[in-house]
Symmetry: C2
Subunit: 369 residues, 2 copies
Amino acid sequence: MPVQERKDLLTYKGAGVDISAGNEAVRRIKRLVAGTRRPEQIGDIGGFAGLMGLPAGVGDPVLVACTDGVGTKLLVAIALDRHDTVGVDLVAMNVNDLLVTGASTLFVLDYIACDRVVPERIEALVSGIVDGCKQARCALLGGETAELPGLYARDHYDLAAFAVGVVERSKMLGPTRVKSGDVVLGLRSSGLHSNGYSLARKALLDPAHAGLAFADRLPGDPAGRSVGEALLAPTRIYEPAFAALRGLEHAPLHGAAHITGGGLLENPARALADDLALELDLSPLELPPVIAAIAAQGVGVRELLRTFNCGVGMLLYVDPAHVDVVRAALAAVGEEPYALGRVVARAAADAPQVRLAGASWMGGAVEVE
Amino acid sequence: MPVQERKDLLTYKGAGVDISAGNEAVRRIKRLVAGTRRPEQIGDIGGFAGLMGLPAGVGDPVLVACTDGVGTKLLVAIALDRHDTVGVDLVAMNVNDLLVTGASTLFVLDYIACDRVVPERIEALVSGIVDGCKQARCALLGGETAELPGLYARDHYDLAAFAVGVVERSKMLGPTRVKSGDVVLGLRSSGLHSNGYSLARKALLDPAHAGLAFADRLPGDPAGRSVGEALLAPTRIYEPAFAALRGLEHAPLHGAAHITGGGLLENPARALADDLALELDLSPLELPPVIAAIAAQGVGVRELLRTFNCGVGMLLYVDPAHVDVVRAALAAVGEEPYALGRVVARAAADAPQVRLAGASWMGGAVEVE
């Protein structure tokens, strides 16, 4: 083989990496991202890193940081070739983790990895991330789009994000603040959010179970959505709800638990000290249609509670003296929280820390160690 | 199919997600991660998020944040079944971007996504990340291990990380500080670092080019390493070098450029104002053996300069009045920087901003628009 021909072959593009497609994707992204800029943000240093000052008025700031992805919900987006909503999920999964500490959001960074850069698809993904950042009132401060031929299958991609917020040290929520007697309110979820998709897809799509197609109507859905639409419904972002509570007199919000992977079995106690427990009555919960359709395929109640949010995306632990004020503040931002129970003293150091009861679909009480 | 049997089938594990393997991986990781703890760190709130105070003595803090992955260097680690070094690369790619702003590192978060959780492999990956965090003097504040069956091929995985640092606003490096006359020093790379692996693998492994196997000796390597060893050499982390310069009188470091994707063509000007340019003489550079072996397969000089670091992982733009002090401080941490040229006034607004000359392997001068 003549040297000239081999030189021609050995380019980065020839090896599967298309820099010009990458540049085109960056051009499309820039315009979108500008819409999330915050006043604390500082002009970039050649894009090596994102720069952000701290918001005014925080005397003793504590930084709060999370990372998460969207999981196999991406396989639904890829199968449906619909890429403009999973970015909302990505931001939500991170921001909802951050909010439970009492932090306000500051910024998000995203990581998109794919087998090849299709500028239109990257633009759609980032438009969802930007949508999420706007809902979460944070800047999209930076990101990476990685073209990794050989690591991802054709037209597959993965998303990860990272969120940073800040909280005044004296205002941190959680185990030091939650007390016996606190009332538990539950903020509604919009569906599966971003957990349990491997099981959800198996239950709904596998011919050995429901055997539905994405385009089929979801059984029992009053909105008449297709299975694909219901599965892709974006995760709710609870920043507006938390923002409504941050300014209230007497700081009535003591703690919160994001109902993420591990569901209602593993998350509620994460905001409690070891000597407290939860008595939750799930009877007010309406199982979202997509979760009800999955349950109908024969998922055991413990598996259901551990895998899915069962209709509640966030638990709030609220000072019983100020529940009415909290309810009014939440109503002002469109939230109609469920009343789900209360925080109690734990019976013993080895007693279960969560007791769930009440929902007809549960078939009885469930205790959680 | 009887209902009981279907219930038994429809579990999260049956759908490909093994929570107990995940828990075992978490147990192994915790011990490793504890070794990176920083004094500013605050005990977690149920692990929903990582919490970190700011270091003392920063009056007007600016947060600096980056995200990056390791690219297709992972395919080398996967092929060699050697997973304990790519974590160093992951931290390095983020931290080196962060350092050029003048920031000190604070924390890193990692995202590991795989087709199935093999606890030993996750432990190896995290041990590399922890090694990198120790080199970079930052905490591993959190992370996510995502099991995504169907999105990754068998035994494949991807890594992403996010790094956050902090810089006193008045001490930020970059375009506002770099001046005509500044001396350009280059810190040595350890090999490919984490860029250009798609081209590197094609040049070295493809039967149409060098056709080597990972176990073959790398041609021309004085250290006698195998191709696999040379390809996996971890990226250098320049935090010790920057730390040595941070405390110097007269703040002689004005700016820096991480030689990452885009190589010596696209990165050096990123730390310059538009009215400045660089005259770089690359003749002192020794091409690392792995890059020389790739070049020998017939990669054009522009492609080489744009894809690989060509032996220099970081450029420093230094006050000419204090170069000796800088050299002495770098020598104290084991750095022997190359003298590569200087910052000059740009001839015209449309004149090239970088002029590279001198290396015998370049075959002449290269101008960059």
